[in-house]
């Protein structure tokens, strides 16, 4: 076992954070005011580098720190939403200017972000983006369209993948920018989903402007940077990413946190339902008396086998990562496993609910929650990369099986056949 940092132990970190909280935690502070203290001390993101609001601690100590915060009800930094993906991407690839300008405001929750990757013509094939970035003077001018952009209607900043060179192969001509969403050239239209929510959007660019310093990498490296963002997104699908939950504690900071969570989480209220709400299954089984039905017991048991083993697989991956070991195959399976769990959960909820599952909204069980599960679960196997794409990744990258012959990476992108998408 290789210990990277010798001077820290679980006990020493616990003692340090406890002492710091004792001296500093004050629920009468404003939310941003408190989080600025977290940034200065590094306790908001202890695994980040010391020079960028962290303490340079191994990530395994985060649980200890979280426990100490939870013990006294101290509020943490803003962790929900696309902003975490922005932070990870900027930490890995951003310039000092980006880190200076954005990281703090990500932690304080002052800025909301969105991810401008998918397009009408390029979803699974995200590297097939055709949104144009053209250089005029020293600025970049953006034209085109993105789609499925979660939170775009709330975001100040967008992570943008766009094509800057059409004469090279698909993956080589992409650039990665940070785009100011609040400008005349950016238009956001909500897109209604089959579950009645509208958490994603279409985003149209008409001569939107990106200042030169907002480019994250050189033309050609855009795909590499996007891969970092996607890796963090898919890892989040294993269910270990923090889900912002409001407390009912009293005090100014809690009021502000509740307000923040209500706003940031608004597009995501249905996300627990899309994952299948395994947490409700035993309660519903008792309530409906179906717990005694031998057929349904089998289905519940199958679901619990799947959800427990997938949770433990994620924990195994996390534990190995904490020990600094190279990632094993267990780290790539969470996203696909979560689709299986969600589908089986929808099946079980249908069985448990019987004829009441025909109804929705206020007429249906739990004020519509069960109905929302049934019409939200199909998103799990699509969002963040489809099940089919996950299988391709597992077979080609983890199992090293031969890739399908490629028809589009060996020629200039302008010559690749594609659907004509009108907007």
């Amino acid at each position: 076992m290789t210990e990277q940092t010798s001077e820290h132990t679980e006990d020493s970190v616990r003692a340090d954070v406890r002492a710091w909280l004792k001296d500093n935690w004050d629920p009468a502070l404003g939310l941003v005011e408190w989080r600025l203290k977290l940034c200065d001390s590094g306790w908001g993101a202890p695994h980040w580098p010391k020079e960028w609001y962290g303490r340079g601690l191994p990530v395994k100590f985060n649980t200890v720190v979280d426990e100490e915060f939870a013990r006294i009800g101290a509020v943490g930094v803003a962790k929900a939403g696309i902003r975490t993906l922005a932070a990870a991407t900027i930490l890995a690839h951003g310039t000092d200017f980006h880190k200076q300008k954005f990281l703090k405001r990500i932690l304080t929750g002052e800025d909301t972000w969105c991810q401008l990757f998918s397009e009408p013509g390029s979803g699974s094939d995200m590297a097939g983006a055709v949104t144009r970035a053209d250089k005029q003077g020293n600025k970049w001018i953006i034209n085109g369209q993105k789609v499925w952009t979660t939170s775009a209607h709330k975001a100040q900043w967008g992570l943008l993948l766009a094509r800057a060179n059409w004469d090279v192969a698909k993956h080589k001509g992409l650039a990665y920018f940070i785009l100011d969403m609040k400008q005349p050239g950016v238009q956001v239209h909500p897109l209604k989903q089959m579950n009645y929510h509208a958490s994603f959007n279409q985003v149209f660019f008409t001569d939107a402007v990106v200042e030169p310093e907002m480019m994250v990498c050189d033309v050609g490296d855009g795909w590499t940077v996007a891969t970092t963002t996607l890796m963090h997104e898919r890892r989040g699908a294993d269910g270990l990413r923090t889900w912002a939950q409001a407390t009912n504690r009293q005090g100014r900071i809690y009021d502000e946190e509740r307000a923040e969570i209500a706003t940031t989480m608004a597009p995501y209220t249905w996300y627990p339902q899309r994952a299948g709400r395994v947490d409700l299954v035993m309660k519903r089984a008792e309530e409906t008396g179906k717990i005694n039905d031998p057929v349904i017991r089998q289905e519940i048991a199958k679901l619990l086998c799947m959800s427990k083993s997938s949770e433990w697989t994620a924990r195994r991956a996390r534990a190995a990562q904490n020990l600094g070991r190279p990632q094993g195959p267990e780290g790539s399976l969470g996203k696909l496993a979560s689709s299986h769990v969600a589908r089986q959960a929808a099946r079980v909820h249908t069985y448990l609910t019987g004829s009441d599952a025909l109804l929705s909204g206020k007429d249906s069980p739990m004020d519509g929650v069960i109905a929302e599960i049934l019409v939200s679960v199909p998103a799990t196997s699509i969002a963040g990369g489809t099940d089919e794409i996950q299988r391709n990744i597992i077979s080609e990258r983890v199992l090293k099986m031969p890739k399908e012959p490629s028809v589009d990476t060996n020629k200039p992108f302008k010559d690749v056949p594609r659907n004509i998408v009108s907007s």
């Binding site: 097939g128 089959m194 109804l359 249906s364 089919e388 659907n419």
Partner: protein
């Protein structure tokens, strides 16, 4: 047993399909499903009278066309395919089969010609708040009152219950239990003491209501206390009819998904050229064709009054339930993100698949019934 449709039947199918395609594109479905009634009364009356849809399986003696479940199944399959918003299932399947199975000749003469002519819509109310589909769960009571009866209690999940002109109700003698003491009644939708509350349905193309009865005047339909057998027969016919409607919807989903993947390109090629897409498309074809065979077989069994019937009816419903749902899941998946949006039509059928899976008992329920009734 009949294993193919006659030329006349195929022609009939084509004419129904053409009419429904013209009258009920998804723009129309979306418009109707957003209304409380869920259909356009005048439009439906016209379409029904032109094609004689509600008359199909009503015997000629009651001014019907005298066809069987084979033909009724064709109409239902086409309606499932088209997602027609109309009170056809409630009127022509639920109420009509109950009247045919339970009513006296005189009652049939009084009620069926109006249904055949499309003058009235009707439904059957049997489930109550428990949502169960068996006779034993009926709690609503019927007490004699003068020359007629009074009904007290509540019915729920009543298809088109908020708009039906005539409601056939299953109720019991106070104090009776299980299959005893059950009778069918007919109730005029305008009767005093009848409350009708529309329910919010997950599948907006299939409207339901909860009905409350407080001393509502009712007429006995058929023999007093003798509804158990005709109800059981009605249930068998209903689920076979639903299975036929379901396979129509499943086939439409399958075809639309196939058309989409053939057109969509990713990675410089058609997504239909990926083996995983082909495997899904092939599996969907197998599922849907199997379910069609079961639904057609069960309809033919009804026409021939086959001995294996109760089991075969449940087999058809359980098979259709799994096939439709799995086809719907694949269809959304094959569309990718667009399949999860409101503006894409896939979710309309996805929700219909889900509601059909549950309606009148899910696949587990029917597999169990099938095993109970299996003869060899």
């Amino acid at each position: 047993m009949r294993f193919s449709f006659s030329n006349e039947q195929e022609e009939f199918r084509s004419s129904v399909r053409r009419a429904l395609e013209a009258r009920s594109p998804t723009t129309e479905v979306r418009k109707q499903m957003a209304t409380e009634a869920g259909f356009d009364r005048e439009g439906w009356k016209k379409l029904n009278q032109e094609l004689g849809l509600t008359a199909i399986h009503i015997p000629e003696a009651y001014d019907g066309a005298g066809f069987g479940f084979g033909e009724l199944g064709i109409v239902l399959e086409e309606m499932g395919r088209n997602l027609l918003c109309a009170p056809f299932f409630s009127t022509a399947v639920l109420a009509t089969t109950a009247i045919l199975n339970a009513g006296t000749d005189e009652q049939k003469k009084a009620l069926l010609p109006k249904i055949a002519a499309g003058e009235i819509t009707a439904t059957l109310a049997f489930s109550e708040d428990s949502g169960l589909n068996d006779a034993a769960s009926v709690a609503m009571t019927a007490t004699p009152s003068g020359a007629g009866w009074k009904l007290d209690g509540a019915k729920s999940f009543v298809l088109d219950g908020q708009t039906a002109d005539l409601i056939v109700v299953l109720a019991r003698k106070p104090g009776s239990k299980g299959e005893d003491g059950l009778s069918f009644f007919t109730v005029d939708a305008k009767a005093a003491g009848l409350g009708r509350t529309p329910l919010k349905t997950m599948d907006e193309t299939r409207k339901m209501a909860r009905l409350t009865f407080k001393g509502v005047d009712a007429k006995l339909l058929g023999a007093e206390g003798g509804a158990a057998a005709p109800f059981a027969k009605t249930m068998q016919q209903i689920i076979v009819c639903l299975a036929n409607e379901m396979v129509g919807g499943a086939e439409r989903l399958r075809e639309d998904a196939l058309e989409y993947v053939k057109m969509r390109m990713q990675f410089g090629r058609s997504i239909a050229s990926f083996q995983t897409t082909k495997n899904k498309a092939a599996d969907m074809l197998v599922d849907v064709e199997m379910a069609k065979s079961a639904a057609y077989y069960a309809a033919a069994a009804l026409d021939e009054n086959d001995d294996d019937l109760p089991a075969v009816a449940s087999l058809a419903k359980a098979t259709a339930a799994e096939a439709y749902l799995q086809t719907a899941i694949h269809a959304v998946q094959m569309h990718g993100g667009i399949g999860f949006t409101w503006d894409n039509d896939t979710h309309l059928w996805f929700k219909r698949a889900k509601s059909s899976e549950i309606l009148f008992g899910d696949a587990n329920h029917h597999r169990e019934l099938m095993m109970k009734n299996w003869k060899h």
